[in-house]
Protein backbone atom coordinates (compact mmCIF):
# COMPACT_ATOMS: atom_id res chain seq x y z
CA UNK A 1 0.00 0.00 0.00
CA UNK A 2 1.62 3.21 -1.11
CA UNK A 3 -0.96 5.65 0.07
CA UNK A 4 0.26 9.19 0.60
CA UNK A 5 0.25 10.01 4.27
CA UNK A 6 1.61 13.54 4.20
CA UNK A 7 0.91 15.85 1.30
CA UNK A 8 2.19 19.43 1.31
CA UNK A 9 0.98 21.86 -1.30
CA UNK A 10 2.62 25.24 -1.65
CA UNK A 11 3.38 25.30 2.07
CA UNK A 12 4.75 28.73 2.91
CA UNK A 13 5.62 30.61 6.06
CA UNK A 14 6.70 34.21 6.21
CA UNK A 15 7.92 35.73 9.48
CA UNK A 16 7.51 39.44 10.17
CA UNK A 17 6.14 40.00 6.67
CA UNK A 18 9.56 39.74 5.05
CA UNK A 19 11.52 36.71 6.18
CA UNK A 20 10.46 33.76 4.04
CA UNK A 21 11.33 30.72 6.12
CA UNK A 22 9.53 28.17 3.98
CA UNK A 23 8.83 29.02 0.37
CA UNK A 24 6.06 27.18 -1.50
CA UNK A 25 7.17 23.71 -0.59
CA UNK A 26 5.55 20.69 -2.22
CA UNK A 27 6.21 17.12 -1.20
CA UNK A 28 4.48 13.93 -0.30
CA UNK A 29 5.36 11.12 2.06
CA UNK A 30 4.15 7.60 1.45
CA UNK A 31 2.78 5.20 4.03
CA UNK A 32 5.48 3.52 6.09
CA UNK A 33 8.22 5.70 4.69
CA UNK A 34 10.97 7.50 6.60
CA UNK A 35 11.16 10.88 4.95
CA UNK A 36 13.94 13.28 5.84
CA UNK A 37 14.37 17.00 5.47
CA UNK A 38 18.07 17.63 5.12
CA UNK A 39 19.52 21.10 5.32
CA UNK A 40 21.62 23.49 7.35
CA UNK A 41 20.49 25.60 10.26
CA UNK A 42 17.90 28.16 9.22
CA UNK A 43 16.93 26.31 6.06
CA UNK A 44 13.32 26.08 7.17
CA UNK A 45 13.25 22.52 8.49
CA UNK A 46 11.85 23.24 11.93
CA UNK A 47 9.44 25.80 10.53
CA UNK A 48 8.08 23.14 8.18
CA UNK A 49 7.75 20.58 10.95
CA UNK A 50 6.04 23.13 13.21
CA UNK A 51 3.45 23.81 10.52
CA UNK A 52 2.85 20.10 10.00
CA UNK A 53 2.35 19.50 13.72
CA UNK A 54 -0.14 22.39 13.84
CA UNK A 55 1.69 24.72 16.19
CA UNK A 56 2.52 27.22 13.46
CA UNK A 57 0.04 28.45 10.90
CA UNK A 58 1.12 28.50 7.26
CA UNK A 59 1.09 31.93 5.67
CA UNK A 60 0.07 30.31 2.43
CA UNK A 61 -0.66 26.83 1.15
CA UNK A 62 -1.49 23.86 3.30
CA UNK A 63 -0.73 20.24 3.97
CA UNK A 64 -2.70 17.23 4.99
CA UNK A 65 -1.85 14.35 7.26
CA UNK A 66 -3.82 11.14 6.70
CA UNK A 67 -6.27 13.32 4.83
CA UNK A 68 -6.75 15.79 7.68
CA UNK A 69 -5.99 19.39 6.85
CA UNK A 70 -3.34 20.93 9.13
CA UNK A 71 -5.13 24.27 9.19
CA UNK A 72 -8.79 23.31 9.34
CA UNK A 73 -8.68 19.98 11.16
CA UNK A 74 -5.96 20.65 13.69
CA UNK A 75 -7.50 18.49 16.36
CA UNK A 76 -7.79 15.44 14.13
CA UNK A 77 -4.19 15.92 13.04
CA UNK A 78 -2.97 16.22 16.63
CA UNK A 79 -4.64 12.94 17.56
CA UNK A 80 -2.87 10.88 14.93
CA UNK A 81 0.62 12.33 15.16
CA UNK A 82 3.45 11.91 17.62
CA UNK A 83 6.04 14.62 18.08
CA UNK A 84 9.62 14.38 19.29
CA UNK A 85 10.86 17.95 19.50
CA UNK A 86 14.38 19.22 19.08
CA UNK A 87 14.65 20.33 22.71
CA UNK A 88 14.54 18.14 25.77
CA UNK A 89 11.06 18.99 26.87
CA UNK A 90 10.58 16.40 29.58
CA UNK A 91 10.07 17.95 32.97
CA UNK A 92 13.30 17.64 34.91
CA UNK A 93 11.62 17.63 38.30
CA UNK A 94 9.40 14.69 37.45
CA UNK A 95 10.45 11.09 36.93
CA UNK A 96 10.59 9.45 33.53
CA UNK A 97 7.45 7.50 34.30
CA UNK A 98 5.55 10.59 35.47
CA UNK A 99 6.53 12.38 32.28
CA UNK A 100 5.05 9.69 30.08
CA UNK A 101 1.86 9.60 32.14
CA UNK A 102 1.62 13.38 31.76
CA UNK A 103 1.85 13.01 27.97
CA UNK A 104 -0.78 10.28 28.06
CA UNK A 105 -3.10 12.53 30.06
CA UNK A 106 -2.79 15.23 27.42
CA UNK A 107 -4.04 12.76 24.83
CA UNK A 108 -6.85 11.62 27.09
CA UNK A 109 -5.61 8.02 27.12
CA UNK A 110 -7.41 6.04 29.84
CA UNK A 111 -5.25 5.80 32.94
CA UNK A 112 -5.01 2.01 32.96
CA UNK A 113 -3.92 1.86 29.32
CA UNK A 114 -1.51 4.72 29.96
CA UNK A 115 0.20 2.93 32.83
CA UNK A 116 0.64 -0.24 30.81
CA UNK A 117 1.89 1.65 27.83
CA UNK A 118 4.31 3.78 29.84
CA UNK A 119 6.01 0.67 31.20
CA UNK A 120 6.08 -0.94 27.79
CA UNK A 121 7.65 2.14 26.20
CA UNK A 122 10.18 2.57 28.98
CA UNK A 123 11.12 -1.07 28.49
CA UNK A 124 11.54 -0.50 24.77
CA UNK A 125 13.86 2.48 25.14
CA UNK A 126 15.65 0.71 28.02
CA UNK A 127 14.81 3.27 30.67
CA UNK A 128 12.77 0.90 32.79
CA UNK A 129 15.44 0.79 35.51
CA UNK A 130 15.39 4.56 35.74
CA UNK A 131 11.66 5.07 35.59
CA UNK A 132 11.40 6.45 39.11
CA UNK A 133 14.46 8.65 38.85
CA UNK A 134 14.05 12.35 38.23
CA UNK A 135 14.80 13.36 34.66
CA UNK A 136 17.45 15.81 35.86
CA UNK A 137 19.64 12.79 36.61
CA UNK A 138 19.34 11.48 33.02
CA UNK A 139 22.10 11.76 30.45
CA UNK A 140 21.56 13.33 27.02
CA UNK A 141 20.97 9.99 25.35
CA UNK A 142 18.51 8.94 28.03
CA UNK A 143 16.58 12.17 27.70
CA UNK A 144 16.40 11.68 23.96
CA UNK A 145 15.00 8.21 24.46
CA UNK A 146 12.47 9.51 26.95
CA UNK A 147 11.36 12.09 24.39
CA UNK A 148 10.92 9.25 21.89
CA UNK A 149 8.83 7.30 24.39
CA UNK A 150 6.66 10.35 25.11
CA UNK A 151 6.13 10.92 21.41
CA UNK A 152 4.86 7.37 21.00
CA UNK A 153 2.44 7.25 23.89
CA UNK A 154 -0.62 7.81 21.69
CA UNK A 155 0.48 5.14 19.17
CA UNK A 156 0.81 7.70 16.41
CA UNK A 157 0.38 6.79 12.76
CA UNK A 158 2.85 9.51 11.82
CA UNK A 159 5.85 10.41 13.94
CA UNK A 160 7.68 13.71 13.62
CA UNK A 161 11.29 13.82 14.69
CA UNK A 162 12.96 17.20 14.78
CA UNK A 163 16.74 16.74 14.79
CA UNK A 164 16.50 13.49 16.75
CA UNK A 165 20.19 13.28 17.65
CA UNK A 166 21.09 16.93 18.04
CA UNK A 167 23.84 17.40 20.57
CA UNK A 168 24.51 13.72 21.14
CA UNK A 169 27.95 12.18 20.84
CA UNK A 170 28.60 9.87 17.93
CA UNK A 171 28.17 6.66 19.90
CA UNK A 172 24.88 7.71 21.47
CA UNK A 173 23.74 8.94 18.10
CA UNK A 174 24.20 5.54 16.51
CA UNK A 175 22.39 3.92 19.43
CA UNK A 176 19.52 6.38 19.03
CA UNK A 177 19.23 5.52 15.34
CA UNK A 178 18.80 1.90 16.33
CA UNK A 179 16.01 2.81 18.73
CA UNK A 180 14.28 4.77 16.01
CA UNK A 181 14.53 1.87 13.54
CA UNK A 182 13.29 -0.55 16.17
CA UNK A 183 10.35 1.65 17.14
CA UNK A 184 9.41 2.13 13.53
CA UNK A 185 9.28 -1.61 12.98
CA UNK A 186 7.41 -2.18 16.22
CA UNK A 187 4.67 0.35 15.55
CA UNK A 188 4.73 0.48 11.76
CA UNK A 189 4.71 4.24 11.52
CA UNK A 190 5.42 6.77 8.86
CA UNK A 191 8.23 9.02 10.01
CA UNK A 192 8.95 12.58 9.00
CA UNK A 193 12.27 13.82 10.30
CA UNK A 194 14.59 16.76 9.94
CA UNK A 195 18.32 16.56 10.28
CA UNK A 196 21.47 18.35 9.38
CA UNK A 197 23.59 15.25 9.89
CA UNK A 198 24.27 13.69 6.52
CA UNK A 199 25.09 10.29 8.01
CA UNK A 200 21.84 10.37 9.88
CA UNK A 201 19.82 10.99 6.74
CA UNK A 202 21.82 8.25 5.04
CA UNK A 203 21.27 5.77 7.86
CA UNK A 204 17.58 6.34 8.54
CA UNK A 205 15.77 7.84 5.58
CA UNK A 206 14.10 6.07 2.71
CA UNK A 207 13.78 9.36 0.92
CA UNK A 208 15.41 12.73 1.44
CA UNK A 209 14.46 16.25 0.47
CA UNK A 210 17.40 18.61 0.44
CA UNK A 211 16.15 21.96 1.66
CA UNK A 212 17.95 25.27 1.51
CA UNK A 213 16.66 28.80 2.00
CA UNK A 214 13.15 27.49 2.47
CA UNK A 215 13.02 25.61 -0.82
CA UNK A 216 13.27 21.96 -1.68
CA UNK A 217 16.17 21.62 -4.06
CA UNK A 218 16.05 17.94 -4.80
CA UNK A 219 14.16 14.89 -3.56
CA UNK A 220 15.11 11.23 -3.77
CA UNK A 221 16.47 8.18 -2.01
CA UNK A 222 19.99 8.48 -0.57
CA UNK A 223 21.40 6.03 -3.14
CA UNK A 224 19.48 7.61 -5.95
CA UNK A 225 20.83 11.03 -5.04
CA UNK A 226 24.38 9.80 -4.85
CA UNK A 227 24.02 8.09 -8.21
CA UNK A 228 22.66 11.26 -9.70
CA UNK A 229 26.01 12.89 -9.19
CA UNK A 230 27.21 10.47 -11.83
CA UNK A 231 30.58 9.55 -10.48
CA UNK A 232 33.44 10.42 -8.17
CA UNK A 233 34.72 13.84 -7.32
CA UNK A 234 38.33 14.96 -7.49
CA UNK A 235 39.31 18.21 -5.89
CA UNK A 236 42.67 19.71 -6.80
CA UNK A 237 44.60 22.89 -6.13
CA UNK A 238 47.60 24.20 -7.99
CA UNK A 239 50.11 26.57 -6.50
CA UNK A 240 49.50 29.41 -8.89
CA UNK A 241 46.74 31.66 -9.98
CA UNK A 242 45.74 30.49 -13.42
CA UNK A 243 42.52 29.28 -14.95
CA UNK A 244 42.98 25.67 -15.93
CA UNK A 245 39.33 24.70 -16.25
CA UNK A 246 39.48 24.23 -20.02
CA UNK A 247 42.62 22.22 -19.76
CA UNK A 248 41.06 19.82 -17.28
CA UNK A 249 37.87 19.64 -19.24
CA UNK A 250 39.77 18.28 -22.20
CA UNK A 251 41.02 15.27 -20.25
CA UNK A 252 39.38 11.94 -20.89
CA UNK A 253 36.56 10.86 -18.50
CA UNK A 254 36.16 14.36 -17.02
CA UNK A 255 32.50 15.26 -16.96
CA UNK A 256 32.44 18.64 -15.33
CA UNK A 257 34.83 21.16 -13.82
CA UNK A 258 33.99 23.89 -11.38
CA UNK A 259 36.38 26.51 -10.09
CA UNK A 260 35.69 27.19 -6.42
CA UNK A 261 37.97 29.91 -5.09
CA UNK A 262 41.11 28.54 -6.68
CA UNK A 263 40.41 24.87 -6.07
CA UNK A 264 38.84 22.77 -8.78
CA UNK A 265 35.97 20.40 -8.27
CA UNK A 266 36.10 17.81 -10.98
CA UNK A 267 33.41 15.27 -11.59
CA UNK A 268 34.78 12.12 -13.19
CA UNK A 269 33.62 8.66 -14.17
CA UNK A 270 36.20 6.75 -12.15
CA UNK A 271 38.34 8.71 -9.76
CA UNK A 272 41.12 6.20 -9.31
CA UNK A 273 41.83 6.06 -13.03
CA UNK A 274 41.39 9.70 -13.87
CA UNK A 275 43.35 11.31 -11.04
CA UNK A 276 46.77 10.27 -12.37
CA UNK A 277 45.74 11.42 -15.85
CA UNK A 278 44.94 14.87 -14.53
CA UNK A 279 48.24 15.22 -12.67
CA UNK A 280 50.08 14.06 -15.76
CA UNK A 281 48.27 16.46 -18.08
CA UNK A 282 48.87 19.40 -15.77
CA UNK A 283 52.56 18.64 -15.35
CA UNK A 284 52.98 18.62 -19.10
CA UNK A 285 51.69 22.18 -19.17
CA UNK A 286 54.02 23.16 -16.33
CA UNK A 287 51.52 23.22 -13.43
CA UNK A 288 52.18 21.50 -10.14
CA UNK A 289 49.30 19.96 -8.26
CA UNK A 290 49.76 20.99 -4.63
CA UNK A 291 46.75 19.21 -3.25
CA UNK A 292 44.45 16.47 -4.45
CA UNK A 293 41.55 14.66 -2.88
CA UNK A 294 39.32 11.97 -4.21
CA UNK A 295 35.81 11.49 -2.85
CA UNK A 296 33.31 8.81 -3.50
CA UNK A 297 29.85 10.36 -3.68
CA UNK A 298 28.25 10.80 -0.24
CA UNK A 299 25.32 12.91 0.74
CA UNK A 300 27.79 15.67 1.48
CA UNK A 301 28.68 15.73 -2.18
CA UNK A 302 25.02 15.65 -3.03
CA UNK A 303 24.51 18.62 -0.77
CA UNK A 304 27.44 20.50 -2.19
CA UNK A 305 26.34 19.72 -5.70
CA UNK A 306 22.85 21.07 -5.26
CA UNK A 307 23.37 24.00 -2.90
CA UNK A 308 26.85 25.03 -3.86
CA UNK A 309 28.13 25.05 -0.30
CA UNK A 310 29.21 22.68 2.39
CA UNK A 311 27.21 21.94 5.51
CA UNK A 312 30.10 22.60 7.84
CA UNK A 313 29.01 26.16 8.58
CA UNK A 314 25.73 24.87 9.85
CA UNK A 315 27.55 22.50 12.15
CA UNK A 316 29.36 25.39 13.78
CA UNK A 317 26.25 27.38 14.54
CA UNK A 318 24.70 24.26 16.02
CA UNK A 319 27.50 24.21 18.56
CA UNK A 320 26.56 27.72 19.59
CA UNK A 321 22.97 26.62 19.86
CA UNK A 322 23.92 23.76 22.11
CA UNK A 323 25.93 26.01 24.40
CA UNK A 324 22.92 28.26 24.72
CA UNK A 325 20.73 25.37 25.65
CA UNK A 326 23.09 24.20 28.34
CA UNK A 327 23.03 27.68 29.85
CA UNK A 328 19.29 27.57 29.80
CA UNK A 329 19.19 24.28 31.56
CA UNK A 330 21.53 25.51 34.26
CA UNK A 331 19.37 28.56 34.78
CA UNK A 332 16.39 26.33 35.21
CA UNK A 333 18.11 24.07 37.69
CA UNK A 334 18.81 27.20 39.79
Amino acid sequence: MAEEVIVAEGLTRVFNKSLVAVDHVNFSVKDGEVFGFLGPNGAGKTTTINMLITILRPTEGTASILGYDIVKQTNEVRKVIGVVPQEYTADEDLTGYENIILCADLYGIPRETAKKRALELLELVELIDFKDKKVETYSGGMRRRLELACGLVNRPKVLFLDEPTLGLDVQTRTATWNYIKQLKNEYNMTIFMTTHYLEEADALCDRIAVIDHGRIIVTGGPEELKQSLGGDIITISIGENADISDLIQSIENVKEVRNENGSYRIKVESGEVTAPLIIEALRKKGYTVTRLSLTKPTLNEVYLEYTGRSMRDAEESKEAFRAQRITLRRARAR
Binding site: T54, R57, L106
Partner: protein
Protein backbone atom coordinates in the same frame (compact mmCIF):
# COMPACT_ATOMS: atom_id res chain seq x y z
CA UNK B 1 -5.03 2.67 6.93
CA UNK B 2 -6.33 1.99 10.39
CA UNK B 3 -9.15 3.52 12.36
CA UNK B 4 -8.77 6.89 13.98
CA UNK B 5 -7.70 7.06 17.60
CA UNK B 6 -10.60 6.77 19.95
CA UNK B 7 -9.15 8.72 22.86
CA UNK B 8 -10.99 11.76 24.02
CA UNK B 9 -8.75 14.48 25.29
CA UNK B 10 -10.82 16.29 27.87
CA UNK B 11 -10.52 19.76 29.32
CA UNK B 12 -10.72 18.55 32.90
CA UNK B 13 -8.23 15.74 32.51
CA UNK B 14 -5.70 17.89 30.67
CA UNK B 15 -6.21 20.76 33.08
CA UNK B 16 -5.62 18.53 36.05
CA UNK B 17 -2.58 16.82 34.53
CA UNK B 18 -0.91 20.13 33.74
CA UNK B 19 -1.77 21.63 37.11
CA UNK B 20 -0.51 18.63 39.03
CA UNK B 21 2.72 18.77 37.06
CA UNK B 22 3.47 22.24 38.36
CA UNK B 23 2.24 21.67 41.87
CA UNK B 24 4.45 18.59 42.08
CA UNK B 25 7.47 20.58 40.96
CA UNK B 26 6.66 23.20 43.52
CA UNK B 27 5.89 20.97 46.47
CA UNK B 28 8.85 18.67 45.87
CA UNK B 29 11.19 21.58 46.43
CA UNK B 30 12.09 21.77 50.14
CA UNK B 31 13.57 25.28 49.85
CA UNK B 32 10.34 26.49 48.33
CA UNK B 33 8.35 25.03 51.19
CA UNK B 34 10.63 26.63 53.75
CA UNK B 35 10.25 29.96 52.01
CA UNK B 36 6.51 29.57 52.26
CA UNK B 37 6.79 29.83 56.02
CA UNK B 38 9.79 32.11 56.36
CA UNK B 39 8.59 34.85 54.07
CA UNK B 40 5.39 35.61 55.98
CA UNK B 41 7.31 35.32 59.26
CA UNK B 42 9.71 38.03 58.18
CA UNK B 43 6.94 40.32 57.04
CA UNK B 44 4.91 39.75 60.17
CA UNK B 45 7.91 40.46 62.32
CA UNK B 46 8.99 43.53 60.39
CA UNK B 47 5.69 45.18 59.70
CA UNK B 48 3.22 43.66 62.07
CA UNK B 49 5.13 43.56 65.31
CA UNK B 50 7.76 46.24 64.97
CA UNK B 51 5.46 48.88 63.51
CA UNK B 52 3.37 48.65 66.62
CA UNK B 53 1.18 51.70 66.04
CA UNK B 54 -1.08 50.94 68.98
CA UNK B 55 1.84 51.14 71.41
CA UNK B 56 2.45 54.78 70.51
CA UNK B 57 -0.47 55.67 72.68
CA UNK B 58 0.56 53.53 75.59
CA UNK B 59 0.94 55.19 78.99
CA UNK B 60 4.67 54.60 79.16
CA UNK B 61 5.12 57.15 76.39
CA UNK B 62 3.78 59.80 78.80
CA UNK B 63 6.49 59.16 81.36
CA UNK B 64 8.50 62.26 80.49
CA UNK B 65 5.69 64.76 80.86
CA UNK B 66 6.34 66.37 84.30
CA UNK B 67 3.38 66.32 86.65
CA UNK B 68 3.95 68.06 90.03
CA UNK B 69 3.27 66.30 93.32
CA UNK B 70 0.52 68.72 94.24
CA UNK B 71 -1.64 70.56 91.75
CA UNK B 72 -3.18 73.81 92.95
CA UNK B 73 -6.77 74.39 91.84
CA UNK B 74 -8.62 77.71 92.44
CA UNK B 75 -11.60 77.07 94.73
CA UNK B 76 -14.18 78.39 92.26
CA UNK B 77 -13.39 75.41 89.90
CA UNK B 78 -14.39 72.96 92.60
CA UNK B 79 -17.91 71.55 92.67
CA UNK B 80 -19.45 72.82 94.85
CA UNK B 81 -17.24 76.00 94.83
CA UNK B 82 -14.93 76.48 97.80
CA UNK B 83 -12.88 79.39 99.05
CA UNK B 84 -9.17 79.79 98.49
CA UNK B 85 -6.98 77.22 96.73
CA UNK B 86 -7.42 73.48 96.90
CA UNK B 87 -4.63 70.95 96.21
CA UNK B 88 -5.10 67.55 94.60
CA UNK B 89 -2.61 64.69 94.29
CA UNK B 90 -0.49 64.66 91.14
CA UNK B 91 -0.62 60.85 91.05
CA UNK B 92 -4.38 60.92 90.60
CA UNK B 93 -4.12 63.40 87.72
CA UNK B 94 -1.38 61.39 86.14
CA UNK B 95 -3.46 58.23 86.34
CA UNK B 96 -6.44 60.00 84.82
CA UNK B 97 -4.40 61.41 81.94
CA UNK B 98 -2.85 58.03 81.26
CA UNK B 99 -6.27 56.43 81.15
CA UNK B 100 -7.63 59.07 78.81
CA UNK B 101 -4.59 58.83 76.55
CA UNK B 102 -4.86 55.14 76.15
CA UNK B 103 -8.61 55.50 75.50
CA UNK B 104 -7.78 58.00 72.77
CA UNK B 105 -5.24 55.56 71.38
CA UNK B 106 -7.72 52.74 71.21
CA UNK B 107 -10.26 55.08 69.68
CA UNK B 108 -7.86 56.30 67.02
CA UNK B 109 -6.78 52.74 66.18
CA UNK B 110 -10.38 51.64 66.13
CA UNK B 111 -11.58 54.39 63.86
CA UNK B 112 -8.57 54.30 61.54
CA UNK B 113 -7.78 50.58 61.32
CA UNK B 114 -10.99 49.13 62.73
CA UNK B 115 -9.01 47.06 65.21
CA UNK B 116 -6.88 48.00 68.18
CA UNK B 117 -3.77 46.10 67.18
CA UNK B 118 -1.89 46.77 63.99
CA UNK B 119 -0.56 43.22 63.88
CA UNK B 120 -3.98 41.74 63.15
CA UNK B 121 -4.68 44.46 60.61
CA UNK B 122 -1.40 43.87 58.84
CA UNK B 123 -1.34 40.08 58.83
CA UNK B 124 -4.66 39.95 57.03
CA UNK B 125 -3.35 42.55 54.58
CA UNK B 126 -0.45 40.26 53.98
CA UNK B 127 -2.71 37.59 52.56
CA UNK B 128 -3.56 40.06 49.78
CA UNK B 129 0.09 40.74 49.21
CA UNK B 130 0.88 37.04 48.94
CA UNK B 131 -1.99 36.49 46.53
CA UNK B 132 -0.52 39.14 44.29
CA UNK B 133 3.07 37.95 44.39
CA UNK B 134 2.02 34.36 43.83
CA UNK B 135 -0.26 34.98 40.89
CA UNK B 136 2.36 36.92 39.02
CA UNK B 137 4.33 33.71 38.60
CA UNK B 138 1.66 32.40 36.26
CA UNK B 139 3.12 34.71 33.61
CA UNK B 140 6.68 33.68 34.30
CA UNK B 141 5.83 30.02 34.14
CA UNK B 142 4.32 30.19 30.66
CA UNK B 143 7.42 32.00 29.41
CA UNK B 144 9.56 29.20 30.86
CA UNK B 145 7.41 26.60 29.18
CA UNK B 146 7.76 28.39 25.88
CA UNK B 147 11.51 28.73 26.17
CA UNK B 148 12.04 25.12 27.09
CA UNK B 149 9.92 23.85 24.23
CA UNK B 150 7.44 22.31 26.64
CA UNK B 151 4.67 24.64 25.47
CA UNK B 152 5.22 23.62 21.85
CA UNK B 153 5.06 19.98 22.79
CA UNK B 154 1.82 20.47 24.68
CA UNK B 155 0.40 22.49 21.79
CA UNK B 156 1.08 19.62 19.42
CA UNK B 157 -1.15 17.32 21.46
CA UNK B 158 -4.93 17.43 21.14
CA UNK B 159 -5.35 18.75 24.70
CA UNK B 160 -7.90 21.60 24.65
CA UNK B 161 -6.11 24.96 24.48
CA UNK B 162 -8.21 26.15 27.38
CA UNK B 163 -6.64 23.50 29.61
CA UNK B 164 -3.20 24.97 28.97
CA UNK B 165 -4.27 28.45 30.01
CA UNK B 166 -6.51 27.41 32.89
CA UNK B 167 -3.80 25.17 34.31
CA UNK B 168 -1.61 28.22 34.85
CA UNK B 169 -4.47 30.11 36.44
CA UNK B 170 -5.52 27.18 38.59
CA UNK B 171 -1.97 26.50 39.67
CA UNK B 172 -1.43 30.09 40.78
CA UNK B 173 -4.78 30.07 42.54
CA UNK B 174 -4.12 26.88 44.45
CA UNK B 175 -0.73 28.18 45.53
CA UNK B 176 -2.24 31.43 46.70
CA UNK B 177 -4.85 29.56 48.72
CA UNK B 178 -2.24 27.37 50.35
CA UNK B 179 -0.16 30.40 51.24
CA UNK B 180 -3.18 32.18 52.66
CA UNK B 181 -3.71 29.17 54.90
CA UNK B 182 -0.14 29.30 56.13
CA UNK B 183 -0.37 33.02 56.89
CA UNK B 184 -3.62 32.58 58.77
CA UNK B 185 -2.11 29.77 60.81
CA UNK B 186 1.03 31.74 61.61
CA UNK B 187 -0.94 34.86 62.46
CA UNK B 188 -3.13 32.86 64.82
CA UNK B 189 -0.06 31.51 66.59
CA UNK B 190 1.37 35.00 66.99
CA UNK B 191 -1.75 36.58 68.39
CA UNK B 192 -4.27 37.40 65.72
CA UNK B 193 -7.34 38.83 67.42
CA UNK B 194 -10.45 37.69 65.59
CA UNK B 195 -13.69 39.59 65.98
CA UNK B 196 -16.81 38.32 67.72
CA UNK B 197 -18.50 37.68 64.37
CA UNK B 198 -15.82 35.25 63.29
CA UNK B 199 -16.86 31.64 62.77
CA UNK B 200 -15.08 28.76 61.10
CA UNK B 201 -17.50 29.17 58.23
CA UNK B 202 -15.88 32.52 57.50
CA UNK B 203 -12.75 30.66 56.45
CA UNK B 204 -14.67 29.43 53.41
CA UNK B 205 -15.41 33.04 52.60
CA UNK B 206 -11.71 33.83 52.88
CA UNK B 207 -10.90 31.09 50.38
CA UNK B 208 -13.62 32.23 48.03
CA UNK B 209 -12.29 35.78 48.05
CA UNK B 210 -8.70 34.66 47.56
CA UNK B 211 -9.83 32.40 44.72
CA UNK B 212 -11.62 35.20 42.89
CA UNK B 213 -8.75 37.65 43.00
CA UNK B 214 -6.19 34.98 42.11
CA UNK B 215 -8.13 33.98 39.02
CA UNK B 216 -8.40 37.59 37.91
CA UNK B 217 -4.83 38.59 38.61
CA UNK B 218 -3.18 35.49 37.18
CA UNK B 219 -5.18 35.94 33.98
CA UNK B 220 -3.83 39.47 33.69
CA UNK B 221 -0.23 38.43 34.21
CA UNK B 222 -0.70 35.53 31.83
CA UNK B 223 -2.09 37.75 29.10
CA UNK B 224 0.84 40.12 29.47
CA UNK B 225 3.44 37.43 28.97
CA UNK B 226 1.73 34.99 26.63
CA UNK B 227 3.64 36.14 23.58
CA UNK B 228 6.92 36.73 25.28
CA UNK B 229 9.89 34.45 24.86
CA UNK B 230 12.02 36.34 27.32
CA UNK B 231 11.67 36.36 31.08
CA UNK B 232 12.59 40.02 31.30
CA UNK B 233 9.26 41.14 29.99
CA UNK B 234 6.95 39.62 32.57
CA UNK B 235 9.41 40.64 35.27
CA UNK B 236 9.30 44.25 34.17
CA UNK B 237 5.55 44.21 34.09
CA UNK B 238 5.44 42.64 37.51
CA UNK B 239 7.67 45.22 39.10
CA UNK B 240 5.76 48.00 37.38
CA UNK B 241 2.38 46.80 38.56
CA UNK B 242 2.83 45.16 41.93
CA UNK B 243 4.28 47.86 44.16
CA UNK B 244 1.79 50.59 43.23
CA UNK B 245 -1.03 48.08 43.41
CA UNK B 246 0.00 47.09 46.92
CA UNK B 247 0.46 50.54 48.35
CA UNK B 248 -2.51 52.11 46.60
CA UNK B 249 -4.76 49.83 48.59
CA UNK B 250 -5.74 49.19 52.17
CA UNK B 251 -3.28 46.31 52.44
CA UNK B 252 -1.06 48.04 54.98
CA UNK B 253 -2.77 51.34 55.58
CA UNK B 254 -6.37 52.51 55.59
CA UNK B 255 -7.72 54.28 52.53
CA UNK B 256 -9.45 56.98 54.57
CA UNK B 257 -6.12 58.58 55.49
CA UNK B 258 -4.84 58.74 51.92
CA UNK B 259 -4.85 61.87 49.76
CA UNK B 260 -7.85 62.15 47.44
CA UNK B 261 -6.11 61.11 44.26
CA UNK B 262 -4.72 58.00 45.89
CA UNK B 263 -8.11 57.19 47.36
CA UNK B 264 -9.54 57.25 43.85
CA UNK B 265 -6.96 54.64 42.79
CA UNK B 266 -7.48 52.58 45.91
CA UNK B 267 -11.22 52.42 45.29
CA UNK B 268 -10.81 50.75 41.92
CA UNK B 269 -7.93 48.59 43.06
CA UNK B 270 -9.21 45.02 43.40
CA UNK B 271 -6.65 44.41 46.12
CA UNK B 272 -8.57 46.81 48.38
CA UNK B 273 -11.71 44.78 47.95
CA UNK B 274 -9.98 41.52 48.70
CA UNK B 275 -8.32 42.96 51.80
CA UNK B 276 -11.56 44.46 53.00
CA UNK B 277 -13.44 41.21 52.47
CA UNK B 278 -10.77 39.27 54.34
CA UNK B 279 -10.80 41.69 57.27
CA UNK B 280 -14.58 41.68 57.43
CA UNK B 281 -14.49 37.93 57.61
CA UNK B 282 -11.83 37.74 60.29
CA UNK B 283 -10.86 40.70 62.45
CA UNK B 284 -13.64 43.25 61.90
CA UNK B 285 -17.20 42.88 62.91
CA UNK B 286 -19.00 41.70 59.83
CA UNK B 287 -20.80 44.35 57.76
CA UNK B 288 -22.84 42.18 55.44
CA UNK B 289 -23.80 44.71 52.70
CA UNK B 290 -20.16 45.83 52.52
CA UNK B 291 -18.97 42.26 52.26
CA UNK B 292 -21.42 41.67 49.43
CA UNK B 293 -20.06 44.71 47.59
CA UNK B 294 -16.56 43.34 47.98
CA UNK B 295 -17.55 39.97 46.59
CA UNK B 296 -19.47 41.49 43.70
CA UNK B 297 -16.47 43.56 42.75
CA UNK B 298 -14.08 40.62 43.05
CA UNK B 299 -16.38 38.36 41.01
CA UNK B 300 -16.69 41.00 38.32
CA UNK B 301 -12.94 41.43 38.26
CA UNK B 302 -12.36 37.69 38.00
CA UNK B 303 -14.92 37.14 35.26
CA UNK B 304 -13.96 40.10 33.10
CA UNK B 305 -10.20 39.68 33.37
CA UNK B 306 -10.12 35.94 33.01
CA UNK B 307 -12.30 36.26 29.90
CA UNK B 308 -9.95 38.85 28.45
CA UNK B 309 -6.92 36.85 29.45
CA UNK B 310 -8.27 33.67 27.98
CA UNK B 311 -9.41 35.22 24.72
CA UNK B 312 -6.00 36.85 24.29
CA UNK B 313 -4.22 33.66 25.22
CA UNK B 314 -6.23 31.62 22.79
CA UNK B 315 -5.48 34.04 20.06
CA UNK B 316 -1.78 34.22 20.76
CA UNK B 317 -0.95 30.77 22.04
CA UNK B 318 0.00 29.47 18.62
CA UNK B 319 2.01 31.64 16.31
Amino acid sequence: MSKANTYHPSLVRGLWALTVRELKKWLKDPVMLLMLVIQPLIWMGLLGKSMNLGAMFSASNLGNIPIPEKIPIPGNYIIPPANGVVYISGTLVSQMIQQMFSDIGANVMGSVFGVTDYFSYMSIGMISMIVMTTTMFSGMSIVWDRRLGFLDKVLSTPVPRGAIIFSKVLNATLRAMLQATIILALATIFGLQVSSTFTLLNILGVYAAVFLLSVGLSSVFLAFSIRSTRLERPMQIISLITMPLMFASNTFFPISLMPDWLQAVAYVNPLSYLTDALRQLTILSLDFPKLMTDFMYLSGFAIVLSSIGIVLSWRYLSK
